[in-house]
Symmetry: C2
Subunit: 140 residues, 2 copies
DNA sequence: ATAATACCCGTGGTATGGTACGGAGTCAAG
DNA sequence: CTTGACTCCGTACCATACCACGGGTATTAT
């Protein structure tokens, strides 16, 4: 089984050495064994775990959630249903964020289209006026 | 023109008093005048500005961007085109975030559907296995 | 007059996910 | 045996957007 030192393993998954130390500190990665020189020594199990973390991050899981996923994997009592539960929760979360963003997009798009005469002073820009919509009660 | 003290104005737009002090500190809100008692005194102009901030935040602008928008409004040389530019930038930003989230959603949805037997041990959960997909090179 | 709010201020903490710094020790090559 | 690259560690700092704390003053209500 191959052994790596921190710089190697970090480079191979594309994270910073400091990041790895950080993951160790927050207990997302286990404390690796050390050489006599105190240099950290990682193996393929660590590499696998680290890759899992990076991949799960790409899927939108937070570090805290990733820790939960990894713990489930280890707890012998945990079931696939538990994992599914976490994934579904995340999915709902993502769907809500999409909904919010779509709404912002709709409003902003409309705003951008209202600005026809770009040379007009910003003070009279329809975009700013519409953002103020709820503010101006007809006066001004 | 009506005058408000910090608690009133904060309550009327639904933000915390501390938040208002924070906005003042980061120069998003101007330093208000004070009574002899040093109490802050706000007027309708301040209220309008604060409402603008809250509204722009709902549209997804960061405090920094809101500051820019408000500065544009004041600079007499700024044009509506400048404002439009900021809004378009934000729009692109939002669109990218939506794209990322949609992708996450797609993958996660697929993952969730792969988990049929919920009673199976988490260790053999297809969700976790697929997250590891890129890790396992056929072995194990 | 006194109690209950409301406000003042500076400072420090929260959460998230790291990055940067700097002095010291280690290791391999020349 | 020296140089350069790598690693060690603790600590501090980045951005974002606030919230909490605590001691003191002001205002308001009873």
């Amino acid at each position: 089984m191959k052994e790596y030192q921190v710089g190697e393993i970090a480079k191979s998954v594309g994270v910073n050495v400091e990041t790895l130390r950080y993951y160790e500190k927050i207990k997302l990665m286990p404390k690796p064994k050390r050489k006599e020189s105190r240099y950290r020594v990682y193996d393929d199990t660590d590499l696998k775990r680290l890759k899992f973390i990076v991949r799960a991050k790409e899927l939108g899981f937070t570090l805290k959630e990733i820790k939960e996923l990894l713990n489930l994997k280890i707890e012998s009592s945990a079931t696939c249903g538990d994992v599914k539960h976490l994934a579904e929760h995340k999915l709902t979360d993502i769907e809500n964020r999409i909904k919010d963003l779509m709404n912002m997009k709709k409003v902003l798009t409309k705003l951008v289209h209202q600005c026809i005469q770009e040379e007009v002073s910003a003070d009279e820009c329809p975009i700013l006026e519409v953002i103020e919509y709820k503010v101006n009660d007809g006066d001004k």
